[in-house]
Amino acid sequence: MRRAFTAIIFALLLAHAPALANVLVTDLSKDQISIRGDFTGETLLLFGAIDPTPHGPVDGVVVVLRGPGESVTLRKKQKSFGIWVNQQAYRMGPLPGFLATVSSAPLSDLAPAEERRQLNIGAAQLDAALLSGTAGAREKQEALQAFVRLKTADALFDENAQAVEIIDDRLFRAEIKLPAGMPVGRYVTEFFAFKNGRVVGYRTGELPVDIVGAGHILGEAAHHQSLLYGLSGVALAVFMGWGVAAIFRRR
């Protein structure tokens, strides 16, 4: 009995050997992102060490930064009466508001499609449930592709196969650009090291992104104290209009 138990443990250990022999140690240049009034985006540095002892040099490293999931309404325009009008609406979710996938080589060179699908690497793997209405599989796929296209245009989605640099097979550094319009919330980082199409190193962590300072107070007030917020806007306007008139009259 005891021998059998040991054998099972041993078998389990063997099966999970790559995961246990984690070759990655990772860190970020910042442990949180604060969006202030003058925030115009920044570059996040993600770096770490690779242990080449168990498997030799890895084939490549992939770093993923994923924003909080949210449900979105995607609308498609159609021409009616000579103008382009939103017609179909697809409510889907959850979908990440931010997704950067950077790697040291093209993703397809590092891992087969099936592996990437299982590990959920890359915007091509995005899927979401339709929250309302109906849509055929092709229609839904088109909508998802449009979602990726729109997010990419806003610099919120990015895939870059040259943004991870491996130094001497032992160190790596990745750069991810964070745009000004990035959504706030709890971001997740994921690091993958690949060897022969399989994961030999994996780390994950969190990165909180918050609006701080006056912007935060205003954002909170706009949503939770909206009457007071609106009245303050009016009060400011009256004060400003009156003040300027007074200044210019005196001259």
Binding site: E70, L74, I83, W84, A180, G219, L231, G233, R249
Partner: protein, 311 residues
């Protein structure tokens, strides 16, 4: 310096916003028009979500009409009772406008509503202004003085029931027409982010037959209250008021308006008015173009998620 606009969720250069406020303020100071009907489309062109542009511009107009209205208050060129009657209609109109806005926003049609309203109004106003300034230019060239149109006889509309005496306007008319005019202008204000002076002033002159010396002051007086209510209603119902954006526009706007008013007293108005008419038509044409030409991207993500949904 770039500045982050917390509700629009974008960042823009601070001088772009103040500069836009200044330019539009200059034109409004010069020509005595509110400028909202140029500012809202400009904000949309630089990427501000239309719903945020409308609410924040309404807030800016509060500042510019207080600034302008004070001068008329001191000259006693405001018919307060008339202003209050117009305002009563205006408040109901602005509330209804915000509700329409909210309903269409949920269906994804509010951008279309804003664009269509602008195309309609900008082309009408642009053409009227152009016609007027061309006539004035021709008259000047021929040496004829421009004949001011004179109010004619009171029409039957003004004899409807609930008549009231308006001493400063020297009128004894029914309150129904001003309430209805106020209602429509208030609704327009809520949907388009304008003060509506460009509709209100002609309506006061040609429909209510008010004397021209109290028209602008009274119009500004009611615009203060109507745009203030539009600001508050949008803030509460749609949460689209961006105070940072509004304040930057105010700074530019109030300064621009003072300089514009100063310049307006010294410059030849007709050519500039023709130019303004062309600008108005160009903005309208651009909006129409965007509606008619097949967009490069047929899809859009609607920014509803921040309005209370937690992922």
């Amino acid at each position: 310096m770039q500045i982050y606009l917390p509700i629009a969720e974008m960042s823009a250069h601070i001088m772009t916003l103040i500069g836009m406020g200044g330019l539009v303020g200059f034109m409004s100071g010069m020509f005595g028009v509110g400028g909202g009907f140029l500012m809202t489309p400009l904000l949309i062109f630089i990427g501000v979500p239309p719903a945020v542009a409308v609410a924040s511009e309404a807030n800016q107009i509060v500042a510019s009409s207080v600034s302008g209205g004070l001068a008329y208050w001191q000259r006693r060129a405001i018919d307060v009772p008339m202003g209050l009657i117009l305002m009563a209609g205006g408040l109901v109109g602005s509330y209804s406008g915000v509700q329409i806005f909210k309903a269409l926003r949920a269906q994804g049609h509010v951008d279309l509503l804003i664009s269509l309203s602008y195309v309609l109004f900008l082309s009408v106003i642009g053409l009227l202004m152009l016609r007027e300034s061309v006539q004035a230019l021709n008259a000047r060239r021929l040496g004829n003085p421009v004949r001011a149109r004179r109010p004619g006889q009171h029409s039957w509309i003004l004899g409807l029931p609930f008549r009231m005496r308006f001493r400063r306007s020297k009128l004894y008319i029914s309150v129904i027409p001003p309430v209805i005019i106020g209602f429509f202008v208030g609704m327009m204000s809520a949907i388009m982010g304008v003060g509506g002076g460009f509709i209100m002033v002609p309506a006061m002159i040609y429909i209510l037959r008010m004397p021209t010396n109290v028209v602008i002051g009274t119009s500004l007086f009611q615009i203060i209250f109507v745009t203030a209510s539009v600001t508050v209603f949008h803030a509460v119902e749609n949460q689209t008021l961006d105070i940072v954006l509004a304040v930057l526009l105010m700074i530019g706007g109030v300064i621009g308006a003072q300089i514009g008013a100063y310049a307006g007293q010294r410059l030849q108005g007709e050519q500039l008015r023709a130019l303004l008419a062309l600008i108005v038509l160009a903005v309208g044409a651009r909006l129409l173009f965007d509606l008619i030409v097949e967009p490069q991207e047929l899809y859009s993500i609607s920014a509803m998620s921040s309005a209370g949904e937690t992922p």
